[in-house]
């Protein structure tokens, strides 16, 4: 059956679709993309979208059930949660269920966003109903097959654990019924379970891939092995955008195992690819390759110089994005009742543990590719473009990823384009391109650096009475296919997400932005604009609360509108579960921060001490409201992990700096993300019970930990830290 709503294509969206950024949902990896559907289809929005079960569920003759997951498993647990949802409605025997990752194909597009992606913490929110329906329809077809066989009505049958039971003592296993069921028409409407009937959804279910990943059996993109496969590494220019001038490969070509050495274009500039039969050979060849780069006139971004420039820009109003209330209100507030704060937030790298990689084999009229990817459709189209093929002639397999955090997606599909250039030259042979850790650390696509300058006017009641906020930083989306969606009137809403859409009731509120162009390629880092905007907002709110001599949770509750239900609930649970913050030992303090990201509300309390002039996070209590908690165990994992990910930007060696055009860090020797010694000893996670439609958990915890820690430090030291990372206190 044809889908009632044809998902938007990977290419340009039709002129009739435009972005409406909802007030509560902006920011994030693909946030708030409510494609306005053409009028013809709008009234059908409530109707079920039809996805063919056979693309999502394979019931095998031996009883095993493979469920196809329309996302990449990055660690966030979707390859367990989506099968749980489907298997629950299907009444499948969970012990027989396994997950497969879907390749690039239209049927696997995100049903809300209209393109295949993993991001925006949107998987559960957007595919919850989809997978329930798939499970329910599959069940209905199996029941129909049994009912047909037994000449009874389907209503006389019930299901449990991959068995259909009929009147009398009749029963049939799903495995026996599968082929008959597959021949039946897919029902248009199905009854979904009442939540009281859930057997899997809502339970703490261990991940399906847990054992494989604990015994070294899980294969990631980097582990792919194909007959005749070659390995490629790329010698990248020392400055972003530079080109190869000349290279001397005579010595390198004599190395045993080296197959080819050639120049390839990059998104900007060019590089030299080395292809060999083994990684070590390719890497050694690259070390020995003599390359002359054309650096004349190439931009040399420098962190210190950029911060100076950004601070200057921040003193002027940028392109205005939000302007509500009375612009003159600030002038009527005396300067002694104002806070002027300037923030400096550095470049951040994702550094997922599995380095970037893609494997492609180009056969002339078709191609096959394998990659851990958050944007399979885009990547597939990019590879096709480079190889001169139609998109559907590229088979694109999605592999398990050793972490993503936003790095496995890019609007320019640069990783895949480079790999396609190499595959084109090595036609007929599969080539795996491997980025070394140095390539990754120095390769750009960072969360951009930002400066914020905020002026807050405080009312007589201690609440903010006026707020003027300037954000300075690169646009994530300029020059990408999504420019028209999230850049409105010259302002990149991904860059101001967290500020422009703040739920706090702040009157006379103006937000503006400057988007300097810098040659360092930007990218979306887990929680995107919230990663810096929430740091600014939540530390300022804390400062206001302190000035008003009000408890930081109480102050936030006062500043939130009554209908900020999820945030209120999260703050209330946090209040309840963080009673320990009233009985702190000496030399410890607590900081509070909260946010709502893509519908999920988070509030945390971080207990901090100072040891050896560094903040030590002793304990964190975090409360969240994500609607229905599909897998509370997985959510707990995401929140513990996300808080630790988020603290990267506090660590002195946790950030990227550039000096005279070159990235100063090379590897984990000089770029040190949090190790176990940096992590708190305890993180307790509290989920607000709810039956509302679920929202995501991958990114929401990330933005709150840094402001919570800095708020605690303000109590310990009396100082407000507005520059990250935190150097010696």
């Amino acid at each position: 059956m044809r889908a009632l709503i044809r998902a938007a294509t990977d290419r340009k969206l039709s002129r009739r679709t435009f972005l409406r950024v909802s007030g509560t949902a902006a920011g994030g990896l693909f946030v708030g993309l409510h494609f306005d559907l053409p009028p013809l289809l709008r009234e059908k929005q409530g109707a079920p979208k039809v996805y063919p079960p056979e693309a999502f569920v394979h019931v095998m003759p031996d009883g095993r059930i493979a469920i196809v997951v329309n996302r990449v498993e990055l660690g966030q647990g979707v390859a367990t949660a989506l099968p749980m949802i489907l298997a629950d409605e299907m009444d499948a025997d969970w012990s027989q269920v396994s997950a497969e990752l879907a390749p690039a194909a239209d049927v696997y597009k995100d049903p809300v966003y209209g393109f295949q992606n993993t991001g925006g913490s949107a998987t559960i929110a957007n595919s919850f109903l989809q997978y329930r329906e798939l499970g329910a329809k599959t069940r209905a077809m199996l029941v129909s097959a049994a009912a047909d066989r037994w000449h009874v009505a389907p209503e006389q049958c019930r299901t449990a654990n991959s068995v259909v039971y009929g009147p009398g003592n009749r029963s049939a296993r799903y495995a026996e019924l599968a082929s008959a069921a597959a021949r039946l028409p897919v029902p248009e409407k199905v009854r979904l379970k009442n939540p009281s009937e859930f057997r899997l959804i809502g339970k703490r279910i261990r991940r399906l891939d847990g054992r494989a990943k604990s015994v070294g059996a899980q294969k990631f993109g980097l582990d792919l092995n194909l007959p005749g496969m070659l390995i490629a590494v790329i010698a990248r220019p020392p400055l972003f955008g530079a080109r190869v001038k000349a290279f001397d490969d005579r010595e390198v070509r004599t190395m045993s195992g080296v197959r080819d050495v050639f120049e390839i274009p990059l998104m900007t500039g060019s590089a030299v690819a080395i292809v060999a039969d083994r990684f070590w050979t390719a890497k050694r060849a690259r070390d020995r390759l003599k390359i002359e780069w054309d650096l004349a006139g190439v931009e040399r971004p420098d962190s210190a110089e950029l911060f100076t420039r950004y601070r200057q820009l921040a003193r002027t109003v940028g392109t205005v994005a939000v302007n509500r209330g009375d612009e003159g209100a600030m002038d009527r507030i005396s300067t002694s009742n104002r806070i002027v704060a300037e923030y400096q937030l550095p470049y951040l790298a994702h550094t997922p543990m599995e380095p970037l990689n893609t494997t492609i084999r180009f056969d002339g009229d078709s191609a096959e590719a394998w990659a851990p990817s958050q944007f399979p459709g885009y990547d597939q189209a990019a590879i096709a473009q480079v190889l001169g093929l139609k998109q559907q002639k590229v088979t694109y397999h999605v592999e398990f990823a050793g972490g993503g955090f936003g790095r496995r997606q890019s609007f320019d599909s640069h990783v895949q384009r480079e790999a396609a250039e190499i595959a084109k030259r090595m036609r007929g042979t599969p080539v795996k391109v491997i980025w070394t850790r140095e390539d990754d650390v120095q390769g750009g696509y960072y969360r951009p650096m930002f400066v914020h300058r905020v002026e807050v006017g405080i009312g007589g009641d201690g609440m903010p009475a006026a707020w003027k906020h300037v954000v300075v930083g690169q646009s994530y989306l300029a020059g990408t296919p999504f420019e028209s969606l999230l850049i409105k009137n010259g302002v990149d809403f991904d860059a101001i997400g967290g500020t422009e859409d703040t739920p706090y009731l702040i009157p006379n509120f103006r937000v503006s932005a400057h988007h300097p162009k810098v040659s360092v390629p930007p990218s979306q880092w887990r929680s995107v604009g919230y990663s810096h905007n929430i740091f600014v907002i939540e530390t300022l709110i804390d400062e206001l609360a302190t000035r008003a001599e009000t408890d930081p949770i109480a102050y936030r509750l006062k500043l939130l509108p009554p209908n900020a239900l999820r945030l209120r609930a999260a703050l209330a649970i946090l209040e309840q579960k963080s009673g320990w913050r009233k009985n702190l030992p000496p030399n410890r303090a607590v900081g509070i921060a909260c946010t709502q990201y893509q519908g999920t509300a988070v509030a945390c309390a971080a207990e901090v001490a100072i040891e050896n002039k560094r903040p030590k996070i002793m304990r964190v209590s975090v409360a969240l409201h994500c609607g229905l908690a599909v897998n509370p165990l997985s959510i707990e994992n995401q929140f513990q992990g996300g808080l630790i990910f988020g603290m990267s930007q506090l660590l002195p060696k946790g950030v990227i700096t550039l000096k005279d055009g070159r990235v100063e860090q090379r590897n984990f020797d000089r770029l040190a993300p949090p190790y176990i010694g940096d992590a708190p000893l305890r993180i307790d996670v509290h989920i607000v019970p709810s039956a509302e439609p679920p929202t995501g958990c991958g990114e929401p915890p990330v933005p709150v930990i840094s402001p919570a820690v800095v708020n605690a430090l303000a109590r310990l030291t009396g100082k407000r830290y507005r520059s990250l990372p935190l150097l010696a206190l």
Binding site: D287, R666, A672, Y675
Partner: protein, 182 residues
């Protein structure tokens, strides 16, 4: 003026102290002092920053189970991967610390006192110290320290090993004199 005998003795002491200056300049060079820390971690690099990956001293200066020195450092340098190596790679004991707990290098007098103190230096007398400087594998390593992960050569101490041994010999034969105070 002192008599000739006193003058010769003085000369020898002065020469011994000069020799010690040379020895001190090697002992406090990064290739040596990075493993003579007062803390529970080694240092690395010419800028003597804390060794990456949170490696710690452990009970015997060899790290801890799961993260020993031998977890990375083998019997020889691995130039292709940038990891130095030598026989029995480990930290000098705390009794042989030549820095303070804030990673500041101790004075010439303080280091000298520690080096000659037989209660601290595993019972080495003058000849023992000379032999240590001449033959100990990890001492010799400082003059073939290998290549860094970025492919560049690690920097060498301010004199050759022979010169270091010669200076040690002069210092020992002068009775291992130490500068006064501090």
């Amino acid at each position: 003026m002192a008599n000739a005998q006193g003058s010769a003795a003085n000369d020898k002491a002065v020469d011994g102290l000069r020799a010690w200056d040379s020895v001190y300049s090697v002992l406090t060079f990064p290739r040596c002092i990075n493993c003579h820390t007062a803390t529970n971690y080694p240092q690395q690099g010419d800028d003597r920053h804390r060794h990456f990956a949170n490696v710690v001293r452990g009970p015997d200066g060899k790290g801890v189970a799961g993260l020993n020195c031998a977890t990375c450092h083998q019997e020889k340098n691995s130039d292709a991967t940038g990891v130095p190596g030598g026989h029995n790679w480990h930290l000098a004991p705390l009794s042989m610390r030549w820095q303070d707990v804030n990673d500041r290098i101790l004075s010439s007098a303080a280091v000298c006192r520690a080096v000659v103190d037989r209660a601290k230096n595993h019972g080495l007398d003058g000849p023992g110290l000379l032999k240590h400087h001449e033959e100990e594998a990890l001492v010799l390593w400082a003059w073939s320290p290998g290549v860094r992960p970025d492919g560049t050569m690690r920097s060498l101490p301010p004199m050759t090993h022979s010169q270091f041994v010669a200076a040690t010999r002069r210092w020992v034969s002068a009775g291992t004199p130490c500068p006064v105070s501090k």
